[in-house]
């Protein structure tokens, strides 16, 4: 048994009891990364030296009796979309391949203040746009359970790192399922908190009204501890909520009680993999045996979730990503070459186009070379949907359907405490399988996007394996700010099952 097999909760206890030091735990993670990350590719950057230094400082605090909290000294990985001062924050994009933020994201500040050891930055779909981490410009990440398969995305690097036992905890972000889906694909616990629960300051925006930062871990207990560390009001984020943060790690220990769990039968129809359906049915049986009541629920507008999401998210993204224009930071095209081309073409014709100046070319070429295909696709889609004459038909319509989707949840949560269903329609797919079919890739988000649209809390936990040995995830959804409910249910489930203890057969 290696230290890297321990959960964050176990590490926390071991550190407190003096069984090992943070330095040892950190070194163990670094060794594991050294050993396996060439195959998995979870990390874009590993900051070994500064991590060890931080670990030593933690050990110093422990010796001095000034521990910062339960996670002091516990290693963590960050999705490379959260700004870290002076350390490259790339979004796995050529555009930001050299970007050194002059500030820390609020979540990063909170992690440092809680004494966690930042181990490195993990890979993702470029600007968090994707569900396979294949749209990453700066690295390739594989599913630790089957290296031929994708880890899911966009927080694929974070989920893979946790699943591969390289780190007990990781931070992900979820705009349409980007924490829950890779957690399901990799056999990890992934929690998307309520919109506004965790500060977005320093999270590089994809779709601002949907983005949320959350934990990826191996157990619900670990996720609860991490959420406790990062949640809370931030005066620098106008959309962060000024509301007390519950003691999640204590709340989950409460009795399971007799919750009512809603199941949307429509979600078990065509399009859902039969093995996944069977695994989720088994989860239902477990919860029933624990004292839960199961009730069928309708979410009549959830089938419009993808359509709604793929209007709102690209619209916001098209504007959020306008700042990458090669002027103040980020990638700029080879300017002398661009000017030479322009001159040559000008010499050939006498007409001068208002919209074909050196500046406009600099913008267009920088952006086209700096962004990958999926990012460009979404920018195009969002720009189109917001452009003159289409706003009402697409964007405004989507905002209205979003309201209907939210109303569905409000009605459902009048009747049940939580909703339960598959996280994904299928298990991890092969790399390259969907890269040329964006729409089929988008449809993967079917079960997850509605929680982002409605702003409610959602969680995915491992609940079995396919015959091919791929993890399966079950999703629980709860009303806004009821993360405790989700974590408690997940914790009780994990006390009675052992799916979360399985580790991938890495060489």
């Amino acid at each position: 048994m290696s230290l890297s097999d321990l959960s964050a909760t176990e590490l926390s206890r071991g550190l407190a009891e003096g069984q090992f030091s943070s330095r040892e735990a950190t070194q163990c993670c670094l060794d594991r990364i050294e050993q396996h990350d060439s195959a998995v590719g979870a990390f874009l950057a590993v900051s070994g030296a500064s991590a060890l230094q931080a670990a030593e400082q933690s050990d110093g605090r422990r010796a001095a009796g000034t521990v910062l909290g339960p996670l002091d000294g516990v290693p963590i990985a960050l999705k490379d979309i959260l700004c870290t001062i002076g350390e490259r924050t790339s979004c796995s994009s050529r555009m930001l391949a050299n970007f050194l933020p002059p500030y820390d994201a609020t979540v990063v500040t909170r992690l440092r203040e809680a004494g966690l050891v930042l181990l490195g930055k993990t890979n993702l779909d470029e600007f968090a746009m994707g569900g396979s981490t294949e749209n990453a410009a700066l690295g390739t990440t594989c599913n630790p359970w089957d290296l031929q398969r994708v880890p899911g995305g966009s927080s694929g690097g974070s989920a893979a790192a946790v699943a591969a036992r390289m780190v007990p905890l990781a931070i992900g972000t979820d705009t349409g399922g980007s924490i829950r889906q890779p957690a399901a694909f990799c056999g990890a616990v992934g929690l998307k908190p309520t919109y506004g629960r965790v500060s977005r300051y320093g999270l590089i925006a994809f779709a601002s009204s949907l983005d949320q930062v959350g934990p990826i871990a191996r157990t619900a207990q670990d996720a609860a501890m991490l959420l406790e560390a990062i949640a809370g009001h931030d005066p620098r984020d106008s959309t962060s909520v000024n509301r007390e943060v519950p003691c999640y790690s204590r709340d989950i220990e409460a009795d399971f009680g007799r919750p009512t769990l809603g199941v949307v039968r429509d979600h078990f129809g065509d399009g859902l993999d039969r093995e996944i359906a069977a695994a989720v049915e088994e989860v239902i049986r477990v919860f029933r045996s624990l004292g839960g009541t199961i009730r069928d629920i309708e979410l009549p507008h959830s089938k419009y979730g993808i359509a709604t999401y793929y209007v709102i998210a690209p619209c916001e993204a098209s504007s959020n990503l306008a700042r990458y224009d090669g002027v103040h930071y980020g990638y700029r095209t080879d300017e002398p070459a661009m000017l030479r081309d322009l001159q040559q073409q000008r010499d050939g014709s006498s007409t001068s186009d208002d919209l074909d100046t050196a500046l406009v070319r600099m913008y267009r070429q920088s952006r086209s070379e700096g962004f990958g295909p999926e990012v460009k696709r979404r920018i195009m889609l969002g720009t189109y949907a917001l452009s003159a004459g289409y706003y009402d038909a697409y964007y405004l319509k989507a905002l209205k359907v979003r309201r209907l989707i939210r109303n569905d949840f409000d009605a459902a949560f009048q009747q049940v405490d939580m909703l339960l269903g598959p996280t994904t329609p299928s298990a991890a797919f092969r790399r390259g399988e969907k890269v040329n079919d964006p729409l089929s890739m988008y449809l993967e988000d079917l079960y997850t996007v509605t929680a982002n649209l409605a702003g409610i809390a959602g969680l995915s936990i491992p609940c079995g394996f396919t015959r091919a040995g791929l993890p399966i995830g079950v999703q629980l959804l709860a009303p806004a700010f009821e993360e405790s409910r989700l974590l408690r249910a997940a914790h009780h489930y994990q006390k009675h099952t052992d799916w979360h203890t399985k580790s991938p057969p890495l060489p």
Partner: protein
């Protein structure tokens, strides 16, 4: 209607920088004139991950101004992104307001002191709060290929005030701007300095031409780059004439050609077409997801209203009512700003002579301030000192000429009335002394005495000059009176 038979129709869009310490969405300083790029942070550079939080004071100043412009304040307002690319716009969008601005449907009343146009109520469509862009500077030193970008100004709060096309002449446009600027200075919400860019004006103008077939509207032109109110007046006059000629030559009407933007060239005194970007109007507005709406209750509106203070229009009326000033005098005083009005009120009350106080302040005090290049707060003559001086004039103790000398001394040295008189040797002359003086004068000038006796009363005037030569403190009116009495007694 001009002599050619057309009416100039003008609407103005004014951007005013609000006087906050920090920017609209971050806490960088708004101080003007700092070295380039020394007042920026991740938020106003639009760095990845940064988020805006609205400045409470900026919203308050905007609300106060909107109320002073008689606008309605909707209960709910929100901010939208206006998307376009420009190097001084680091986020790639401006945070502005689109369909639900924070205020709408107000007005500003203007009247012309010269009486060129009747009193007008100019309707205001909306006033909304948005962030300013940085500055792009063309670099002529390093070659023609580069512009340099300074983001110090990026994120400064701006109030955009849009009028209806209610203005009918360049003079009206100038008066609207003057009155607006005065209002803003009374509210103390902006520095309104066109040179520093804290007040910027764009104009939309076209003509309504009377033809035998009825009134025809010419295409609307937007004019930019006007750097003073005078420039606005001239640019509009130029543009009206130009549009009339174009209409005469081409017959082009509104809708025949796309809206044109022209820049005012102050050197050449002409407007020039700017390159139009057909796509630039597609700003793809949508609600900014990083900001939340602002709701304002009637009670809050009431509170801001109550704290607004007296505004120019009310103040003009009150000065006329309380001090019996005529409209013109009240206007001159009010247009000089609140401080001068306060000064006036103190002098008027203490001297008991508002009319004289008004005249002295409009002429002597303002001239003195101008000559010295100082503001009222630096002016050494206190209201009570000036009032004392004016009382001396009122009682005849000092004649106007001597009083002006005293005033000059007080302005130069900060002296009291008594000190100034002492220094200038201006003392009251006893009647006996004056009578003796006049007797001597009459004895020395028998011809004048004879002339007066023959009915040439104005001949006495010559004696007054003589009297002041012999004793500078001799009061001309009293010299005249005594001489008259003595001559009468002679007969």
């Amino acid at each position: 209607m001009s002599e050619h038979g057309y009416t100039t129709v003008i609407g103005l869009e004014v951007h005013v920088q609000l006087k906050t310490r920090s920017k609209l969405f971050c806490r960088c300083s708004t101080e003007f004139g700092a070295p380039p790029n020394t007042q920026t942070c991740p938020v106003c550079i639009g760095m990845p991950g940064s988020l805006p939080v609205m400045n409470r004071q900026a919203y308050y100043l905007a609300l106060k101004t909107a109320l002073a412009l008689n606008c309605e304040i909707p209960a709910y307002t929100k901010w939208d992104r206006k998307n376009y690319y420009y190097p001084d716009l680091p986020k790639g969008y401006q945070i502005s307001q689109y369909d639900l601005p924070m205020s709408r449907d107000g007005y500003l009343e203007i009247s012309d002191p010269k009486g060129q146009f009747p009193d007008r109520r100019i309707r205001i469509i909306r006033a909304h709060l948005e962030d300013d862009a940085g500055k792009s500077m063309h670099d002529e030193v390093a070659g023609k290929a580069d512009s340099r970008v300074d983001l110090n100004r990026a994120g400064t709060p701006l109030l955009e005030i849009v009028s209806h096309p209610d203005l009918r002449s360049p003079a009206e446009a100038k008066e609207y701007l003057t009155e607006l600027k005065l209002l803003l200075s009374y509210l103390d919400v902006s520095d309104c300095n066109m040179q520093e860019g804290s007040l910027r004006v764009d104009a939309n103008v076209n003509l309504h031409v009377a033809t035998p077939q009825g009134t025809v509207a010419t295409p609307i032109v937007e004019i930019k780059n006007m750097n003073s109110f005078r420039a606005v007046e001239r640019a509009l006059a130029y543009e009206a004439q130009r549009q009339y000629e174009v209409w005469r030559d081409t017959g082009q009407q509104l809708g025949d050609v796309p809206k044109q933007t022209r820049g005012w060239d102050d050197q050449a005194q002409v407007t020039r077409a700017q390159r139009h970007k057909e796509e630039s109007s597609d700003y793809r507005y949508f609600p900014d997801p990083d900001l939340v709406p602002v709701c304002t209750t009637p009670e809050e509106v009431q509170r801001v209203h109550a704290a607004m203070g007296e505004l120019p229009a009310t103040l003009r009326a009150r000065l006329q009512r309380d001090y019996q000033l005529d409209w013109y005098d009240a206007d001159v005083l009010v247009n000089q700003g609140r401080a001068l009005v306060d000064y006036f009120e103190k002098v008027a009350t203490a001297s008991g002579d508002p009319k004289r106080a008004g005249n002295w302040i409009q002429q002597d005090v303002l001239r003195s301030l101008n000559e010295r290049g100082i503001v009222l707060a630096e002016f050494p003559v206190t209201p009570s000192a000036l009032a004392e001086l004016l009382r001396c004039v009122g009682t005849g103790e000092l004649d106007t000429t001597r009083a002006k000398d005293v005033f000059q001394h007080m302005s130069d040295h900060g002296s009291s009335v008594a000190e100034a008189r002492q220094a200038l040797g201006i003392v009251a002359v006893d009647r006996d002394v004056l009578v003796a003086l006049c007797r001597d004068l009459l004895a020395d000038h028998p011809q004048i005495v004879q002339d007066v006796k023959n009915g040439k009363q104005q001949a006495i005037g010559a004696l007054i000059g003589q009297a002041r030569k012999r004793n500078p403190n001799a009061n001309p009116a009293r010299v005249r009176e005594i001489c008259w009495e003595l001559i009468e007694r002679m007969s």
